[in-house]
Amino acid sequence: MTERPYGIMAEFRTPEALIEAVRAAKHAGYTRLDAFSPFPLSDLARELGVRTSVIPWIATVAGLVGAAIQYGSQYWMNAVDYPLNVGGRPLHSWPAFIPASMIVAILWAGAATLIGLLLILRLPRLHHPVFAVPGFERASQDRFFLCILQDDPKFDSAAIREVLGAHSPLAIREIPACE
């Protein structure tokens, strides 16, 4: 392999070991880290600087837009474009337009949350370099992995092995880059 690897990956047995290794790597000055675990580790995510507050914003904005479009289209269709006198009731019967507007707000917010989540995570993506690491299938079961990516300014294979090796990993492997 002539090109640089995707990164260096260490495998740990417990989440505590992973968290310690992340702290050590950060302490050593590495910034391009990614950790993998079989269940959510919210403390670790916070330490890695993940901020998820964009998700509720996506839902709120999508919900408001959806409600506005639904209310507006109901008004336009029933009061402007095709006014129909039903027993002398007002054409702009706003209370009757509320339920569908609220429901459609939820529809837009829900759909936007899923689509937004996938866009942020850049999923679906059926292949990824980390899948090439032997034993990585246990990241979805009972093993914890820490990866230092090759685009880290301090990336140096030997130094990384030394830092991560101090936290008794089960293995340290190089992740080959792929197209």
Binding site: P38, F39, A45, V50, S73, L107, G110, L123, E137, Q141
Partner: protein, 437 residues
Amino acid sequence: MTSDAHAVTSRVADVPLSPHFGWAWWLALLASGGLVALLGYTLISVTIIGVGVWGVNIPYVWGFDLINYAWWIGIANGASLFAATLVLRRHDLRTAVNRFAEGVALFAVICAGIFPIFHLGRPWLFYWTFPYPATFQVWPQFRSTLTWDFWAISTHVIVTSVLWYVGLIPDLATLRDRARRPIVQRIYGVFALGWRGSVRHWAYHQRAYRLVAILVLPLILIMQSTVAFEFAVTLVPDWHETRQPLHFVATGLAQGLSIVLLVAVLLRWGLRLGRYIDEGDVDLLGKLVLASALVSGYLYIDEIAAALLSGGLAQEATFARMTGEYAGLYWTAIVYSVVIPQLFWFRAARLSTVGGVFVGIAIGVGIWFDRFSIIVGGLQTDYLPSIGRGYSPTLPETGLFLGTIGLFAALLLLFVRFLPVISMFETRHDEHEEKSS
């Protein structure tokens, strides 16, 4: 914790991944498949011949179509509301029951969706309820509850599916990673969308999951109220009541909880998942079922009180339901949905499999009779003198009802067979927390 976590994953994941599943599952699938065939037959007959094959006629314009629609929607809403509440409260029970509570909700709403489409009479024109620029330049009339219902059902299907699927993604990845046969790996791999368990992804995933759960709460209340509005906005004396949304929401919750309990007890017994759905979980579910049955009881009293206060024809109509030709439906509803669940005051009844199945089915039956009583019993008293015709379901209507039960059972059986019925990542998380505390 490693060996424990591994044990959880394999115990739950081995179910969908095992190549053999036993004859009982095949037998159950065959039986429900037979009912699905019956559903197909009745749907084709109503499409070709028309709604004349049903027993509905003036004044009984609604029959099994709306009874079963309202009934399935009740199950869907009750189960969704329960699942979403558990996610938001981060309650321990969520790990055990959430996945299939969401599944129950999704399958019930699929069954519910069949009825309004086919009771249109010309089901292939259902898209007329959607506002699209038609050549005849007429728009749907949004002052009608029926158009609200179109949005409510479609939103319910989509948002319930999103909640269920977002929760499933990490577990699908586990199945992908544990599968041995390449074809199985590929199928789960496609649905897992390339999930790799990055801590960053987990953080967004958890946030999105909880957010969709928050969305479900108002959705359920609006959805079930929309169903109730379809009755409340009519001029039928017994239906024209502002208490209808409360009645439908609260009795629907009892019904959803009872079906979740039924499925929980059956899964626990059938898949031997006693360790993950433990006694405490079943006990708590039983208490919730009992509490919701008491609320139903309160609402039946409220119904009488509202009738006494309203007077006139509305009062006459409510009392006609309790004492008239269709009184049997009303009293059956009371016995099954309020009286029988009182068994759950006893701990032994809450914990026993037979007790759970019995009470779970009883509330389902009771609320079904409640919807029957509201729809048919409620229509017998109107401003016009009755023309003396009664309502009784015809064979195609009964077939339609049994068919949706078959469809629900078949979807549930396929779900149990091919997907993890218990959230594996939540279980791993819980065990880790227990270990470290």
